[in-house]
Symmetry: C2
Subunit: 141 residues, 2 copies
DNA sequence: ATCCAAAATTAGAAAGAGTCTAAGTTTGGC
DNA sequence: GCCAAACTTAGACTCTTTCTAATTTTGGAT
């Protein structure tokens, strides 16, 4: 996704194209490893100090609302972010908190009976366990 | 699950049976609405002031590790807790953050190829959208 | 029953993550 | 170029959770 594509995505969602917004989105596209807000702030701010912490959070919130970015809450740790590209599932490491993508495959949604009057917008499958690095470390101990 | 059953569950996981631990577990069994740590602390502490905030968190951590309690991280909000009983999925309201149970049905796990050397301990399906209260409120506006 | 070490609990301080405020700056339509 | 709305900012603040160091409780061994 180049700058023009990002501009279009933002504007079609009623968001202005600002230098800061662009940098946050570009950082997420270049760093697919699910960075935290703090990592995004540091990464962008190091290259271009015209980005504050508050704006990092504001822009992440706006990008999530616009559907361009996905947020993954991890128990007891900072949330992680993900530029939405191809559909995929997530794996969360119990030990180090790392979030990894798992190739997408279809998962059935529940029937209307068990949903009642709820309005379902999205469904996601989360796998938990040990990432390969942590599994190796545990095995060698 | 009565006191004796709770005692056995705790001891078979190497946890001592303490008054505080019991109260936290009992509170979760009686309040299936996925309370937050703060709600559990207030609820138990009101009846029996011999429970501190730190112990609430310590016990929740221990109970989760022992597999008796499930923790649900919600983006931008306090985690919610759940005494593990019958298997079920979760619905999280985008608007109010409420967590609700969805009747269980089997969900396929990914093939070994897409897992690599990861060790998968659990998988969970999370549905997102508006709970019936929030959906009704939105519709009436 | 009593003693002991390990486990658990406590209050309060501190850390970490995220939000808010009020003032200043940028954006894009006119 | 002008203007209002949108955006950004620094830093204070809130909320959730963890840590610390001292005290208490627990259950096994006498």
């Amino acid at each position: 996704m180049d700058a023009e594509r990002i501009r279009e995505s933002l504007e079609s969602n009623g968001l202005r194209f600002t230098s800061q917004r662009y940098c946050v989105m570009a950082f997420l596209l270049e760093h697919a490893g699910h960075p935290t807000a703090a990592e995004i702030f540091e990464g962008v701010n190091r290259l271009d100090p015209r980005l504050s912490r508050a704006t990092t959070y504001n822009n992440l919130r706006d990008l999530v609302q616009a559907g361009l970015v996905r947020e993954v809450a991890v128990e007891g740790r900072a949330a992680r972010f993900d530029a939405k590209s191809a559909e995929h599932h997530h794996f969360i490491c119990d030990w180090c908190g790392r979030v990894e993508d798992i190739a997408w495959y279809p998962v059935p949604r529940p029937g209307a009976a068990s949903l009642g009057k709820r309005v379902v917008r999205a469904s996601e499958l989360i796998l938990r366990g040990l990432c390969s690095a942590c599994a190796a470390e545990k095995a060698s101990q």
